[in-house]
């Protein structure tokens, strides 16, 4: 099925919905194709190929709303599926806020190329995929005779989607991604077998780190865990590695969503224009970055994607408001979902931040934990290293950090110069002052 055929089928489904009783309708058809290789002990562990086709349809009928999806794309099945969807919608309660976005929020036709599809994808052979995974595994295994097991993986995906709205939006989206990584387990002390991983994801194949580098990095991280233990509870300065920092940023983002605000489950309600973090924190949502993992021309609701400042020098500038909650809150929609997050970076690398720390805990891994968006309370399990006088003196693990996001973000003292490029949330490493750690 070509993209044009996907659009035609979506058009047909939308017309059928309008004919059978919908006032408005949105139809999407998505088709991700993924090939995955897992490699272990010198051979392929798993080879998997998948192509999925899903049609999703939203029905708006007489101020009632429902959404449905199916993997069965034959027209006969779709007719019954849509008729049933409309019939069931009629039983729901009326809600005057249920309607498609106003067309003024839809993008104009654009030929902007966000460079999110690497056409080289089409030429990759399975043998090449296997070779990458094999090289990662052998590089990891070669690092130490303490390595018990190294599992490596490589996968790539082509994602295509068409989206149509009955009030005038139509969009096509095509993107690709390449991922590779490894999980390494090493023989530790007292029968412990510490593990660590490294994983990278990029839009273009050539931007992936070399396989050897991935394997070495995963192994080095696992070897650094040997001897890890919890240490004394107390308040420590906390250095958070870039790849973990996104989990902390989510304590801001989750509370900025329209639904959380309208449903009274956000500690950031009525905080627009107010200081919620230290001056160091500036966060920009930027869907326009070339090769960005979250780059897009329109969001899942057809809203035009544009660059905007979310937090500026600690002041909350904008929320994540989707179409429905925008109407319910009586405010403009901004987009309900994150595209790429870009922070104002600092000047030091993580290693330089470590060097300049007198006493701190460097957090490189998280273990469980959660965050309460209503109150701002958070608590996460962590692992990492104790830093004294600029040196990693001891691996620590199985400790908890706890606090409230309202205070945590005011204690942000420094950001690194190392935005994490393997995620759409490009957080640099961060230094927070005096965080509660519990251990022994």
């Amino acid at each position: 099925m070509k993209l044009t055929e996907m659009t035609e089928l979506a058009q047909w489904a939308m017309q059928y919905a309008l004919k059978t009783g919908a006032d408005q309708s949105a139809v999407s058809i998505s088709r991700p194709r993924t090939i995955e290789v897992e490699f272990r002990s010198g051979r392929i562990e798993k080879l998997k190929e998948s192509t999925i086709r899903t049609l999703g349809i939203s029905i708006y009928a007489d101020q009632r709303y429902s959404s449905h999806s199916t993997s069965d794309l034959s027209k006969d099945s779709l007719k019954k599926f849509i008729a049933e969807a409309i019939r069931s919608t009629k039983y729901l309660d009326k809600d005057k806020f249920r309607s498609l976005p106003e067309p003024k929020y839809y993008p104009k036709k654009s030929d902007t190329d966000l460079k999110i599809y690497d056409s080289g994808y089409e030429n990759i052979t399975t043998a090449e995929r296997v070779k990458i995974a094999a090289e990662i595994e052998s590089a990891a295994t070669a690092q130490s005779d303490r390595i018990i097991s190294a599992t490596s993986w490589y996968s790539d995906e082509r994602f295509e989607k068409v989206l149509l709205h009955s009030n005038g939006f139509s969009g096509e989206h095509r993107a690709g991604s390449f991922s590779a990584g490894a999980m390494v387990t090493v023989r530790g002390d007292n029968n412990a077998r510490p593990e660590a991983w490294f994983h990278a994801e990029t839009r273009f194949r050539k931007d992936l780190p070399r396989p050897e580098q991935i394997g070495k990095e995963a192994a080095a991280r696992a070897l650094r865990r040997i001897g890890q233990a919890k240490i004394e509870s107390g308040r420590y300065d906390m250095l958070v590695e870039n790849r973990i920092a996104g989990r902390l940023i989510s304590t801001l983002i989750k509370a900025m969503k329209g639904r959380a605000l309208q449903q009274k489950s956000s500690y950031l309600e009525a905080m627009l224009g107010k200081k919620i973090a230290s001056d160091k924190l500036t966060v920009i949502d930027d869907p326009t970055i070339e090769k960005g993992l979250g780059s897009r021309l329109f969001d899942g609701e057809g809203l035009t994607a544009h660059k905007r400042t979310v937090i500026e020098a600690g002041v909350l500038k904008s929320y994540y408001i989707d179409n429905y909650y925008g109407k319910k809150l009586g405010t403009e929609p901004t987009s309900g979902s994150v595209s790429n997050l870009v922070l104002d970076n600092g000047s030091l690398s993580l290693e330089e931040m470590v060097k300049s720390a007198k006493k701190a805990i460097l957090v490189t891994g998280l273990l469980g934990g959660n965050f309460n968006s209503t109150t701002g309370d958070f608590s996460y399990g962590i692992s990492g290293s104790l830093i004294e006088n600029g040196e990693r003196v001891k691996p620590v693990s199985a400790m908890n950090i706890s606090g409230n996001a309202k205070q945590l973000w005011h204690s942000l003292a420094e950001l690194g110069n190392d935005p994490y490029v393997y995620s759409s949330w490009r957080c640099p490493s961060m230094l927070f002052e005096k965080v509660s750690f519990s251990g022994i």
Partner: protein, 515 residues
Amino acid sequence: MTDRISRREFLRQSSKSVVAAVAAPYLLKPSRAAAQTIAEPQSAKLADYYRHFGVDEKLIRRTISDALSRGGDYCDLFFEHRLTNEARLEDNKVNQAKSGIRMGVGIRVLKADQTGYAFTEQLTAESMAAAARTAADIANSSKNVEPVQLKLHNCPNYYPVKTPWQQVSIDSKIPLLTKLNNRIFALDSRVIKSNIWFMDQTALVLIATSEGRIAFDYRPFLSLGASCAAEQEHRRERSFAGFSARAGFESITPERIDRIANEAVRRTTVLFDAVKPQGGQMDVVLGGGSCGILLHEAIGHGMEADFNRKQISIYADKINKSVAPDFVSIVDDGTNLNLPGSLNIDDEGNDTAKTYLVENGVLKNYLQDKISAAYYKVKPTGNGRRQSYRFAPLPRMRNTYMLPGPHKKDEIIKSVKKGLYAEMIGNGEVQIGAGDFSFYLKLGYLIEDGKLTRPVKDVNLIGNGPEVLENITMVADDLKMAEPGGICGKWGQRVPISSGLPTVKASKITVGGTS
């Protein structure tokens, strides 16, 4: 309010002729294939499943031959048709419904412990042949495979259903959501928001293996939950309660609805008095029910056979060794009546069982899938599970719980001078090799001089699996399963599970908090 209810009553009465739930009814023969209560020969039901998926024995046998044509040792086909319906209530309106249909077949080929996997969502001979050839490529020789003879494997029914979801239309679900919502607001004037969700699911699966086994299963599921926000003197709190089961419409009784409402409101409003505890290592009394997540993380994952055959679990090489006091027995059970993790047959076509992980303090059995059972040369334990036909199976838990012990809840709490009582756990995670596991406390109480005192909330708890098991000092006789069940994730695959626990006294657990 009365207006609304009477309008719904009207709709309900006038809709008797409308065919059932969102998107389901055009399925072939759902009432026969689905409700296994009808007395008829199993072979007739197998014919229903063939018809349902539009396949026959010949096509299945040919697909298996194609899949093994490159020299694979073993192949299985997993056909699945899954219908999901959801309804949501927010701001006193049932203003959102969802439905989903997924149908396809997953084809897996094994060459020793190597897996080739492909699936198709078009159940035609050509698509199935193409997927079989893709999966076949894990092996790299060629051979001619004679079609296997398929023999029907019968299985018991651990999830009897009176009213299958295909017979329940959305208009009969809506009043339940409204009733639950009304009850929540009626219970406490501090409640400012209430959110209700309701999900039901019906899955039909048909499994055929190159060893000649064919089996089918009808899998019902439901999940009903409520979350509410309350306000008191500018302080806001939110909590939730829920229920899930492999059961039909009959399981949602008025008592069940009352209980969810009562619990959601109680768990929310008690938080107004909650404090953050002083962080550190202390004795923790785990309350019965949702604290069962402790077992899931502390030992369950570590006992999944794939992690042990790869030597990356802290429990590798510990079979038949003593890991806990002799009054501790822990099982993973697929055979409990109507529980979320129960399975009549696992996703590889193997019978499920009650599997002892720990029996009287001694480590006994790993949780096996096909690949691992062959490695260990043991019978599969029926733990091969997958999220759907889009995934290859892995060893996974079902319902994991500790058997009742010799102590009493009161005596356990009395025995603690200073510690924590955990009542409600939200989520957990484990590092298999290090053995460190964590679980997030939504609600608990401080224990001071043998008594429960102030409520505590929103702190993470961490322990080391083997260390915590070894240091269990008391187990009560009050085993309870976690009512909301749970969803377990592993390598990107999510499956429903359940866990349970009697009241247990553990130590060496690090409680998050102030310092």
